[in-house]
Symmetry: C2
Subunit: 483 residues, 2 copies
């Protein structure tokens, strides 16, 4: 019996519905846990997440970062030490006030981010310039009492990330780290996950609480809104002063250290991976992140010896397993059509179909999930072909997503022009901008919700004027609606 | 300048002091975080922890477990659903009562263990016998408001573990899982981490809250106390009834599922690894868990071309790196003696010393951390030798620890005999036992703190009588002081 499932909603027209359906049908996320903003990561999601974590951790370690783990609880007095920081987070903190049958002496915050947990320890560990640089990351969940509507993976009250916290002798080294962070992010997000993004310096009024400068990575979702998937901050000596991170330099002087931190939004990267690459059949996954890379499906035929098909499938499975691929040979009694539906939904990159024709001719029929194309090749070419396809998939997904992003950015040089683009629902609009909060607020009002997302350093605004106040433009701002 | 550090205290005589010194000198754990029972895992500890996690996760996956992640918060009403369970944990729960500026409608527990977070979801996911078995693990921190004295890694209020939660059609399958869990635990703990342990069925009055039967893995620490490093429980249908985990069987009947859970104490396994294998020079690590497996140390000599030594070291480093080993070539200006001290403390399994003699004769001098022996071999034999040594280390560490465990178990058949052994401070004493709580309490009183840790299933007590009440013995109980 073939289970006929309704096809997915159109992703471009109703992203939200498409997304909910895919999360549920591919058994990725369960939203029925019963606490607002807290979701359950089901095995298939977790198997992808673990690979995303692994890719970033390896890349961070390549650049001399080391793992560490700091407590999930932060004493209230620590959280309050850097005054800008607490202002930014106070409204979002979950508080532990009781344990067992008694109230605690001091209430404890669940980490919303870990500067105030980590930097008191850095103050103990760092004494001399010889102790620097310190480059540490931790892979953890963080907790923020979001008051905006929560959406699974996009905005939750518990979300997964990696945070790095690095300490340097001076500004130059810290700025170099900011650049290195961008390169690490690009290497995995763009090259491996095939997610293109804008790399924007956030406006002054939009910085991370306590930072000197904030940079963010925004990707574009199919509904035209952007999603911040990573941030990297130059903290200057703000936290070093609050937490007394002081080292004795080679010249004998005691100096405040310069710090950076870098957040990689693992939950959001999974959301982006699902939303950007998926289609009406479900997920499309890059080969190296797919929990199942290859599925083998036997296509029985009446009057043809099934044992022959079975043995042929087994031989292919064995060959692929020996090559180290994650392969499933689906011997269940469901129809081939049901199986196609099931593995398509889960984004399995390559399907191998084996019927009498393949067995008799020592051939293999391959179906590629990304292009939805079938090819038939000789069995002995299989491994070479798979290697070839696994690379091609990345190029195709990257190019598709990149074209999408590029074709959705326009530049407006007057308010009138801007409003025309807004009317046409162009997702990302560049405008000359003075950099002041008042004008940003007016822009948001005029456009019914486009925020200033920051600017690309080096993109010139010479001779241009802020389209709101007419002052000389400081830069070209990127406007977009955002999650 | 050679830094002369005092040697470590004697581990057998003053384990506690030895332990604190090693945690600090090897830069494993920092206890100065400022919240009782919460510690900081420094990079060197975390690099070992990640490998322990990885080893267990791979083994669990080999047996068809899949990763998942459930929220850290558990609503109070869920935690209260299974009546025995909440009785066992209520006094130990951290409560989140506020978020932002307001009290929460329902208070949330920080997970002390995850049965009550996971099983409501299982009740939604499991409908038919075709959905079974479910075998899921999660690698997380758990939170328990311990009232006993806390000790880093041994007993904390935040500790790392893996928990599996499996669901089956019937008791037989569940019991088979309990056996499989033991095998998984043995494979990694005994074979890879080289930590021998007792596998004990816990007494009825000492079961996990809500379980039908509890089994635990206890290892022996140098101070003569035992440490529970893992547990596996047959839950029967207790939780299935409380959380309505009901499936329709092949016969059409609706039945309560049978469940098991399995906890692997990752923090405690790190403690055991440190305490059981270490010596007066610091850590001793099995080769595959060592963050640095091999260190190359140049031994300069006056009048000998240092460049020649340097190039020779580089060639060794390159060769070992190509083989995939984690190798450090320490070119710093510290003296060889300082370097020996540093890497010995961190348990680096193999040290390669390169001086003029080695360069001139195309030889390599190897120092093994486990046996503290030096051998000199031809350079081309190096990789083969390393492979050999890495296996030998495991055998040596395992045998040492196993002899220690075995030689510290005695059997007493009367209270008098028991008290003699207690006087002699024998760590583990076996006695015929009726299985009743009253007698256990009397035993603990008489021995000033030996607890009944359970019994080995299949170890016969026929014809023997409880050494307290004289009733027929139900089994041979293992008594020990415990963490």
């Amino acid at each position: 019996m073939t289970i006929v499932e309704p096809s997915l909603p159109n992703k471009e027209k109703d992203m939200s519905k498409w997304y909910d359906e895919v999360l549920s049908r591919a058994e990725l996320i369960d939203i029925r846990y019963g606490v607002k903003g807290f979701i359950v990561y089901r095995p298939y999601a977790m198997e992808i997440i673990k690979r995303i974590y692994d890719a970033f951790e390896k890349e961070l370690e390549k650049y001399n970062h080391r793992p560490a783990l700091f407590p999930v609880v932060i004493p209230e007095k620590m959280l309050r030490k850097e005054s800008e920081h607490i202002k930014g987070f106070e409204g979002q903190v979950f508080w532990i006030t009781h344990a067992g049958y008694s109230p605690l002496e001091e209430k404890l915050a669940l980490r919303p981010t870990s500067e105030t947990a980590i930097y008191p320890m850095y103050s103990l560990w760092i004494k001399s310039y010889k102790d620097l640089p310190v480059k540490i990351y931790q892979s953890v969940a963080v907790y923020r009492y979001e008051t905006k509507a929560t959406r699974p993976l996009l905005r939750g009250r518990e979300f997964l990330w990696i945070e790095t916290h690095d300490v340097f002798r001076n500004k130059e080294e810290a700025i170099r780290q900011i650049e290195e962070d961008s390169e690490i992010f690009r290497r995995i997000t763009y090259e491996e996950l095939c997610i293109p993004f804008l790399h924007l310096r956030r406006e002054e009024y939009d910085k991370f609480a306590g930072a000197v400068a904030s940079y963010a990575f925004d990707c574009l979702l199919p509904d035209g809104r952007v999603l911040q998937i990573g941030t990297t901050h130059y903290l200057g000596t703000n936290f070093a002063k609050a937490f007394e991170i002081i080292y004795q330099d080679a010249d004998g002087q005691h100096k405040h250290a310069h710090q950076t931190c870098f957040g990689i939004g693992i939950s959001r990267l999974l959301a982006a991976l699902i939303l950007i690459h998926g289609d009406e059949f479900g997920l499309i996954l890059p080969f190296s992140f797919a929990p199942i890379q290859i599925v083998i499906i036997p296509i029985p035929k009446k009057g043809y010896d099934h044992e022959k098909i079975h043995n042929y499938c087994l031989s292919i499975e064995k060959m692929l397993r020996e090559k180290g691929y994650r392969v499933v040979y689906d011997q269940s009694k469901r129809t081939p059509g049901d199986k196609y539906y099931y593995y398509d939904m889960r984004g399995v990159p390559i399907r191998i179909e084996v019927g009498p024709k393949e067995v008799d001719n020592n051939m293999v029929t391959l179906f590629r999930r990304d292009k939805r194309e079938r090819i038939t090749i000789a069995k002995e070419e299989l491994c070479t072909k798979i290697e070839e396809i696994s690379e091609e998939i990345k190029e195709i997904l990257r190019k598709r997503a990149e074209n999408k992003l590029k074709s959705n950015i326009v530049e407006a040089n007057s308010l009138g022009e801007l409003l025309e683009y807004v009317d046409k629902k162009i997702p990302i609009i560049k405008v000359p901008f003075c950099g002041r909060r008042e004008c940003a607020e007016e822009l948001e009002g005029e456009t019914l919700g486009y925020e200033t997302r920051g600017y690309v350093e080096g993109e010139k605004a010479e001779g241009k004027y802020c389209i709101i106040c007419g002052r000389e433009a400081h830069h070209i701002a990127y406007l977009a609606k955002a999650y």
